[in-house]
């Protein structure tokens, strides 16, 4: 175990807390840059998805994990991003115009849904966001002149300053750099007043407001930022699968996105990446496992949805901190070996709170 003696305020706001972090993240950086040159085309293609879902995961994590607001409608922002990108690119705009537009338009949609969020909490907010998703899906389906309706829309590879991201490797680097950029942006926010205000709202709205945090402003801001990141993810998603249609942005897609943050680990950026990797790898595992299952079980339609559902419930019950929480425990086990004791992470007794305003 490592104890860090702090001698300077600067140590608290550093990007990397100690030399170990610099080493491991440096190594990770080297591996990520080298990856496309050694891995097979298929794996690279899966890495595209991991990056895209990580960006979306960051967005949702900001809202759910750090601001404590729930959303069951994030596929709608994914759709806004994807269609904005497809349409603007179709109109001949370069990526540096279309991608920020996708982010901005999604943010605007986020503000629209953020407004009811000022009055709603918990299950009611979930229902409102869910309804929003259905509305957006319906608009896309009906507005055929713009979106192509159920017929869908083709998307060409992204273009930036005359360069076309048409190879797996170049698109990988596009996705990776946007992932790193969004991650850094969130880390920066979380160590500044804005990020602290989000966390304050998550833990106690009444306290936050008594400390001078404008709840309406910061909740709306969180929705807008979350939607913007999801919109960027949506734009990349459109380029990745080259064909978008309304059925990719249904309620089920939204639930899949929530799965990322819950399975990954609420309240951690690592969790968003772990969760993204998990939901990309899981379907592959299922399809491999199918070969070994009795033909009856393998034939069940929607096997994947069932596995997702069961895992989601299992994580909520047994590991509310998600994969990241599991990872922390394993790491602590190694660091403390052989002194790890059972129940070390169990929640301390929490004090009773009364219902009325304290």
């Amino acid at each position: 175990m490592r104890f860090i003696f702090k001698t300077d305020y600067r140590q608290d706001i550093r990007l990397f807390r100690h030399a170990g972090y610099v080493f491991w993240y440096g190594l990770l950086g080297v591996v990520l840059v080298a990856a496309p040159f050694v891995l097979s085309e298929y794996v690279i293609s899966q890495l595209h998805f991991v990056c895209i879902y990580s960006i979306v995961g960051f967005g949702l994590m900001l809202l759910v994990g750090f601001t404590g607001q729930i959303s069951l409608g994030h596929a709608a922002f994914l759709a806004v991003g994807a269609y904005t990108e497809a349409l603007l690119q179709g109109a001949g705009m370069p990526l540096w115009v279309s991608l920020p537009s996708a982010a901005l338009l999604s943010a605007a949609a986020g503000i629209i849904i953020g407004i009811p969020a000022l009055r709603l909490k918990g299950i009611y907010l979930a229902i409102a966001t869910l309804a929003f998703n259905v509305i957006v899906e319906e608009i896309i389906t009906r507005w055929e002149g713009l979106t192509g309706g159920n017929g869908g829309k083709h998307v060409k590879p992204a273009e930036l300053f005359g360069f076309t991201f048409d190879s797996d490797v170049s698109f990988y680097f596009l996705c990776l750099s946007l992932t790193v950029l969004s991650c850094l942006m969130l880390i920066n926010l979380l160590r500044s007043p804005t990020g602290r205000a989000f966390v304050a709202i998550r833990d106690s709205e009444i306290s936050a407001s008594c400390m001078g945090v404008n709840l309406a402003k910061y909740k709306t801001m969180s929705f807008a930022l979350s939607a913007a990141l999801t919109g960027v993810g949506g734009a990349l998603y459109a380029h990745k699968i080259t064909f978008i249609s309304p059925e990719q942005f249904t309620l089920l897609a939204s639930i899949e996105l929530v799965t990322i943050v819950i399975i990954g680990g609420i309240g951690s950026l690592h969790g968003a990446v772990f969760g993204a990797a998990f939901i990309i790898v899981l379907p592959q595992v299922i399809s491999v496992a199918k070969d070994y299952l009795p033909s009856g079980a393998a034939g069940i339609s929607g096997l994947q949805a069932i596995v997702f559902g069961v895992l989601l419930v299992a994580f909520i019950i047994f590991e509310p901190m998600g994969i990241y929480g599991r990872w922390l425990k394993v790491r602590t086990w190694f660091e403390l070996f052989p002194f790890y004791r059972q129940g070390m992470f169990r929640r301390q007794k929490s004090y009773m709170k009364s219902e009325r305003l304290r």
Partner: protein, 254 residues
């Protein structure tokens, strides 16, 4: 112009007149205490001052400014901080982070600057930490600085909440039962801190408190409340010996 004044304040919940035509005035630099039996409406007065409930009658004036009708977060921004009777900390954050949130009203950077963590943000953050570190020294919290609030003992959390309120650098500090749940030693310590807050930091304190020892020790003036109405006002000794106060406490204890 008075420093802080409440006039004819009132609110009902259903049929209960929780606060009824209460008026009082707090002078700059004093410790003013509200006492009263359980359910007298003391916490409700704090919630009305914090604009968490809209008052059904009356006005609240702070430094010549009427608070009624403002958004709740504006109260803190004007320089009024409070603690809660049952502790309302940010449980999943460290002590340091809790205190830093107290600095929110002194925020000087914009969202865009923060996203890139520009040098201006870095400078502002260092300044915030310096201010918080002063509070940590003042309340001797250094030992708990990086610990999660959720795991700390009740007495310590009480002090952290006081620290978070102090971190806002308030001009008026509202303390709701600062000694409730504390043992005699901790209560004694709390009394010292309240005295220091008044004398060293020059912060005006409006406090709700049950412990009459603590009340007589630190308060300059006391207001007694019963069933939402003010029944006596004066020095601690005067109020304690006032027949209506004795009556209210005896009547409430059976």
């Amino acid at each position: 112009m008075s420093f802080f004044r409440v006039e004819d304040l009132g609110i009902s919940f259903g049929g209960v007149r929780a606060v009824d035509a209460v008026s009082f005035e707090v002078n700059q630099g004093e410790v003013y205490t509200i006492i009263g039996p359980n359910g007298a409406g003391k916490t409700t007065i704090f919630n009305l001052i914090g604009l968490l409930y809209p008052a059904s009658s009356g006005t609240i004036c702070f430094e010549g400014r009427t608070l009624n009708g403002l958004a709740p977060h504006r109260v803190a921004q004007l320089g009024i901080a409070r603690t809660f009777q049952n502790i309302e900390l940010f449980e999943h954050a460290t002590v340091l982070q809790n205190l830093l949130i107290g600095r929110h009203r002194h925020r000087s950077t914009s969202l865009w600057q923060e996203m890139a963590f520009l040098p201006a943000v870095r400078r502002a953050e260092l300044a915030q930490r310096e201010a918080v570190e002063k509070v940590i020294d003042f309340l001797e919290l250094a030992h708990y600085r990086d610990g999660l609030v959720a795991g700390l003992p009740y007495g310590v959390r009480k002090v952290i909440e006081l620290g978070r309120a102090l971190a806002t650098e308030p001009r008026l500090l509202l303390l709701d039962e600062p000694s409730s749940g504390l043992n005699p030693e901790e209560t004694n310590e709390m009394a010292f801190w309240i005295e220091d807050i008044q004398k060293e930091l020059g912060i005006t304190v409006l406090m709700v408190e049950h412990d009459m020892n603590l009340v007589s020790r630190v308060s300059d003036r006391v207001l007694a409340l019963n069933e939402g109405r003010s029944i006596a006002q004066g020095t601690p000794a005067e109020v304690q010996s006032h027949p209506a106060v004795i009556e209210a406490y005896l009547g409430g204890s059976d």
